[in-house]
């Protein structure tokens, strides 16, 4: 039976998650140098277009369609066949099936867009388009099926991932690491400081991401009520705790708390709480937030030492945050909070922790390995990187024939 309130809530949540992709565009767009701002915005807007189409054509069917051996959906639901206005009880029994489909579409969209932070300022647009199509099909859709699809084998094993710590953040984060390694460092890295050209734009992006994240996490309850309220509160709790943690740590470590750090902390907190949002209590969420801030802070400070060029820290924030959050579910989850969840290690259930750890290892390894294969393939077909000249002149003029500003 369709519940109007649940439907209203899911549609609002879908709109909120949609807004996250433009939000990500601004978050990333402000961080690059002026000459690459449009190229960076394009990554997110193009992902919105490409993945939404892929999703309606066949992606949704692969991820959520009738199960094939726990590994993938079959192609019965291509072009949204059988996906109509009646609810699908296997997923969301109180809203139209199409509402669930479009909600999930927004998740599929933002995930590859997140990866784009790893190879910003140097990838060919044709390579990007190809990469996104392949990656969505070969990485995102299967992993989503394993964990969220009816019949998915990891779901079956009891892996908990409330709103995408594994499906969204671990897949994109570890693929980002692969991409940073395969695509290589930016030419200018040794020559000039890579300063963000417009931090206020990054702040606009962070604000919209935070706002949209309520739809991402609280919407994942798929219904308006107690569970969505819980996820809403834990989401905010982790975000603010991570923001505060980052400010404090940076202040102590570097002498000055940066705004860019505070914004980064907030996104780290949001990414980290994502898998746990519906399974932990608000006070656990505060702790998870502090942890998120600390762990991602360390990750970002290690990057210059390790020397790979994850330009906008897609791995350092989403990979590390998603991994931390996935493990936190295994530590902090409580049946008292959500009877559909589990108890974690701190409530004596070490099993859940190891399930989470195993799933994380698997998803991370799968994403990393398959991304390398895809990138090699794309490199062979169209070439991954722009020419040195194009890179020096910036993607905006070279790839898109436009400039961001005539101020």
């Amino acid at each position: 039976m369709i519940d109007k309130a649940d439907t209203a809530w899911m549609l609002v949540s879908t709109a909120l998650v949609m807004l996250m992709t433009p939000g990500l565009a601004f978050f990333y767009g402000g961080m690059v140098r002026r000459k690459n701002v449009l190229g960076t915005l394009m990554h997110s807007f193009a992902a919105l277009a490409i993945v939404s189409i892929q999703w309606m054509l066949f992606g949704y069917s692969l991820a959520f369609g009738p199960d094939v051996k726990g590994v993938i959906g079959n192609l019965d639901w291509t072009l949204l066949r059988h996906v109509g206005l009646m609810p699908n009880p296997a997923y969301a029994p109180t809203v139209p099936h199409l509402a669930f489909m479009i909600y999930q579409a927004m998740f599929a969209v933002i995930t590859p867009a997140l990866i784009s932070g790893a190879f910003a300022e140097r990838m060919k647009f044709s390579a990007y388009v190809l990469f996104v199509v392949l990656w969505s099909t070969v990485v995102y859709d299967p992993v989503a099926h394993w964990i969220w699809g009816a019949g998915g084998w990891l779901k079956h094993l009891g892996v908990l991932d409330f709103a995408g710590g594994l499906v969204v953040h671990a897949t994109s984060g570890f693929s980002a690491l692969a991409a940073a390694l395969i695509v290589g460092r930016r030419r200018d890295m040794s020559k000039e400081p890579m300063l963000p050209h417009n931090l206020p734009m990054t702040a606009v992006g962070a604000g919209l991401l935070w706002f949209g994240w309520f739809g991402f996490n609280a919407g994942s309850a798929l219904s308006a009520g107690q569970l969505s309220t819980l996820a809403f509160v834990t989401t905010h709790a982790a975000a603010v705790a991570a923001t505060a943690a980052w400010i404090v740590i940076e202040w102590l470590h570097r002498g000055k708390p940066t705004v860019f750090g505070a914004l980064t902390g907030s996104i780290a907190g949001l990414a980290t709480i994502t898998p746990a949002a519906g399974f932990v209590s608000p006070d656990s969420a505060l702790l998870i937030g502090v942890l998120a801030g600390a762990v991602c802070y360390v990750a970002l400070n290690l990057k210059p030492i390790l020397g790979y060029d994850d330009s906008l820290d897609a791995f350092g924030v989403h990979g590390v945050g998603g991994a931390t959050g996935t493990l936190c579910v295994g530590l902090f989850a409580a049946l008292a909070v959500n009877p559909a969840g589990a108890n974690g290690l701190f409530l004596g259930n070490a099993h859940q922790f190891f399930v989470q750890l195993g799933a994380l290892a698997l998803v991370a390894a799968y994403s990393f390995a398959v991304s390398i294969a895809i990138l090699k393939l794309v490199d062979a077909v169209v070439g991954l990187r722009v020419s040195a000249d194009h890179e020096d002149n910036g993607l905006d003029i070279s790839l898109h024939g436009e400039e961001g500003y005539y101020l």
């Binding site: 400081p193 890579m194 300063l195 963000p196 940076e250 570097r254 000055k256 940066t258 860019f260 750090g261 980064t264 802070y297 970002l300 400070n301 290690l302 990057k303 210059p304 820290d313 350092g316």
Partner: protein, 112 residues
Amino acid sequence: MKMITAIVKHTRFDVVRRALMEVGVQGMTTNDVRGFGRQKGFREVYRGTEYEVRFLPKVKIEIAVPDEKLDAVIKAIEESARTGEVGDGKIFVTELQQCIRIRTAERGEEAI
């Protein structure tokens, strides 16, 4: 005629402008520049990566003056722009061969 080019701190700019007007300067052209010199720059940290920013924002002021005003104008700039700290800036003087007011086609000192 001379062209005086002064590089001064942003925070002194308005004081300099007023000092110039007091000595009778009626025109000038300015723009923002980034200066590198003895003044230590700022350390900026972006997400764990440190950058030493050595190019500091300064204002460049260009003023065409008749020869007899040169000393007065230089004095005005020096006094108004000085804070005594490193980075106060520089004054450069070059010979100006011709000056033309586009509107009236006047030439030479009249055009300044």
